[in-house]
């Protein structure tokens, strides 16, 4: 530990509490409090109820949660596959080719997601590839947005991967495909795990690009939260937000529980 004295440690904790609690924890607690109330006129909410939750887990809301989950899982899986593939390809390229790929995959991060949403909308509103009005345009936009993160985390992990494992495998007579499947991917698994969690969380919370693209039958949860609060149903929106938060946290927790043998190194 960096701070050795007892008082020093307490001071550090106190500083952490003063800075962290108001900034990170309190707003979330406020949402949780609001989700259980019917009025909030004074300093504290009043009229405790669970009605918002009863509404939040059925009908339109449940539909939205499923939509969000399906979108996030699909986008993450595709992003992870494409991102890993691209990262592996980039690692095999020479310096210049690698730089081109790096820049290409930086684009969705560097460009505001509203712009990405608009670009996808404009690009796929005309034949031959007409996706506008279908769920696929939402999933596509999410995939484009999160692939960049998958690419970057796998690239970084590949750089750290010692080439001696690959060479040892090759010297034992393993073809490149076998090496990839039996050595490289298992060793990359911890990073793939982390990347999957990141992609999933980003997609679950994506709003700006989704707002421009979602068709009526494919409304992800963040959109529903936005429209609810926009209408003034602050407490319903809060309950939905808590559901979104909980679902995302649970999924992340599940992903992080996947312990891989390689992570014991």
């Amino acid at each position: 530990m960096l701070v050795h004295s007892r008082t020093g440690r307490w001071t550090a904790w106190a500083g952490f509490a003063v800075l962290f609690v108001p900034l990170f924890a309190l707003p979330l607690l406020v949402i949780v409090a609001a989700s259980f109330s019917t009025h909030w006129s004074g300093a504290f909410p009043s009229g405790p109820t669970t009605a918002h939750y009863t509404a939040a887990v059925r009908g339109e809301s449940l539909q939205a949660l499923t939509t969000s989950l399906v979108t996030a899982v699909t986008a993450s899986v595709v992003a992870l596959t494409v991102g890993t593939w691209a990262a592996l390809a980039a690692a095999a390229l020479r310096k210049r080719g690698r730089r081109v790929l790096d820049a290409l995959f930086m684009l969705p991060v560097a460009v505001p997601s509203v712009v990405v949403g608009l670009a996808v909308l404009v690009a796929f509103s005309q034949p031959p590839v007409l996706l506008n009005g279908t769920r696929w345009i939402v999933i596509l936009a999410h995939t484009v947005l999160v692939t960049a993160f998958a690419y970057q985390s796998v690239s970084a992990a590949l750089l750290r991967l010692d080439p001696m494992y690959e060479q040892a495998a090759a010297s034992l007579g393993a073809r490149p495909a076998y090496v990839l499947l039996r050595v490289k991917l298992p060793l990359l698994l911890p990073s793939l795990n982390a990347a999957a969690g990141l992609c999933f969380a980003l997609s679950m919370g994506e709003l700006s690009a989704t707002m421009m693209l979602y068709p009526p039958d494919w409304t992800p949860l963040p959109v529903l939260i936005f429209t609810a609060t926009d209408r003034g149903s602050l407490f319903t929106g809060s309950a939905l937000a808590v559901v979104l938060m909980t679902a995302t946290l649970l999924a992340l927790l599940a992903v992080s529980r996947i312990r891989t043998k390689a992570s014991y190194r």
Binding site: A168, A169, S171, L172, A174, R182, A262, Y264
Partner: protein, 350 residues
């Protein structure tokens, strides 16, 4: 199928730097050849051209009588062991050893038997279900050797296999490697090392490398007793290298006439005389040299004396002396004529 290795004018360059300069070397089937040299001498690069991880700019590499220069590593049928073990951390010991067999699609029924056999050969059968991280360095290296042997390679490449181990383990593993080679007399071994003791102990022949070039090649005894270059003399064992002038009946060193082993050098030419420190005796005798002691080191069973003879430092390793000689004392050293070797390098340069 024969198992030797042949380097045929192999040159490797990185950009403008030549890291291996037209290497010609043959490792006979069943022979242990040590590539000995300091770091940056090109020895590891030479090994990696055999493994297929480095493409020569020119020249050919042959395994047996097959040109493998253009073959990818996985088609070469080599076993390789590196300094950092490179065991797959996500696989248990037995799966590590089975890796090559599975990759080469060996018959399924055969695999467990061959894994056990390889692990028994290196004394690691009891650790089959462990993960590499649960083993010590020496144990990991044994598993790495078992993994390389399991595929029954024709050629075994060992790249500084003992460098990561401590001194005691290293000498044990050296004996182990020697025993393994006796059990596998058909396998050719290319052994890269910077440690002369490993090379002298294990190798049938030693190829001495320096500055991307092969400097010398011969049996350990040959290189030790009759080194041909100053580099070999100083890198393989310790050596006194004295500048001398060839005369009609021996050599002249700082005005003293010395008798040495026969040489073809022409009288009048300059040359370098190599005498091993442990062959230099204290006291009068043939080829006597007198000088002052400039330093004394006690090494347990021996004393190392540094004696200043006419401005040159001569090292002598003598059996432990009852009384430690005083610094600055006048002493006489001697060596037998047959222990003085004239090196070629200086002779031709004149």
């Amino acid at each position: 199928m024969t198992s030797g290795i042949r380097f045929d004018g192999v040159t490797v360059t990185y950009g403008n730097t030549t890291v291996l300069d037209s290497l010609d070397l043959t490792v006979e089937p069943g022979e242990v050849m040590a590539l000995l040299g300091p770091s940056g001498s090109g020895k590891t690069t030479a090994l990696r051209t055999v493994a297929g991880f480095v493409r020569p700019a020119s020249g050919r590499v042959l395994i047996g009588d097959r040109d493998v220069t253009a073959l990818p590593p996985y088609r070469r049928g080599i076993g390789m062991v590196v300094q950092q073990y490179a065991l797959f951390p996500h696989l248990r010991v037995d799966a590590n050893v089975a890796f090559g067999l599975k990759a080469q699609k060996a018959p399924k029924a055969e695999i467990p038997g061959r894994v056990t056999e390889a692990l028994e050969m290196t004394g690691m059968a009891a650790y089959a279900r462990r993960y590499p991280r649960e083993l010590s360095g020496g144990q990991q290296q044994r598993v790495a050797i078992a993994r390389a042997l399991a595929i029954r390679p024709r050629v075994l490449l060992l790249d500084e296999p003992l460098s990561a181990l401590d001194a005691q383990l290293r000498s044990g593993m050296l004996a182990e490697l020697a025993r393994l080679h006796r059990e596998l007399p058909d396998v050719s071994i290319l052994y890269v090392t910077h440690d002369q003791v490993e090379a002298l102990t294990l190798a049938d022949r030693i190829a001495v490398m320096d500055k991307a070039r092969l400097q010398d090649c011969g049996t350990p005894q040959d290189l030790y007793r009759r080194p041909r270059t100053e580099f070999t003399a100083s890198f393989v064992g310790n050596a006194n290298l004295l500048p001398v002038t060839v005369t009609t009946d021996g050599v002249a060193f700082e005005g003293t006439r010395l008798e040495v082993a026969a040489s073809e050098a022409a009288p009048g030419a300059g040359a370098t005389l190599c005498v091993r420190p442990h062959l230099v005796g204290l006291g009068p005798g043939p080829n006597a040299l007198s000088g002052r002691i400039s330093e004394v080191q006690w090494r347990g069973s021996t004393h190392r004396l540094y004696v200043d003879v006419g401005g040159h430092r001569v090292k002598a390793d003598v059996r432990e002396l009852r009384e430690t000689p005083a610094l600055g004392a006048e002493v006489t050293l001697h060596f037998a004529p047959e222990d003085g070797v004239l090196l070629g390098a200086g002779v031709t340069d004149g």
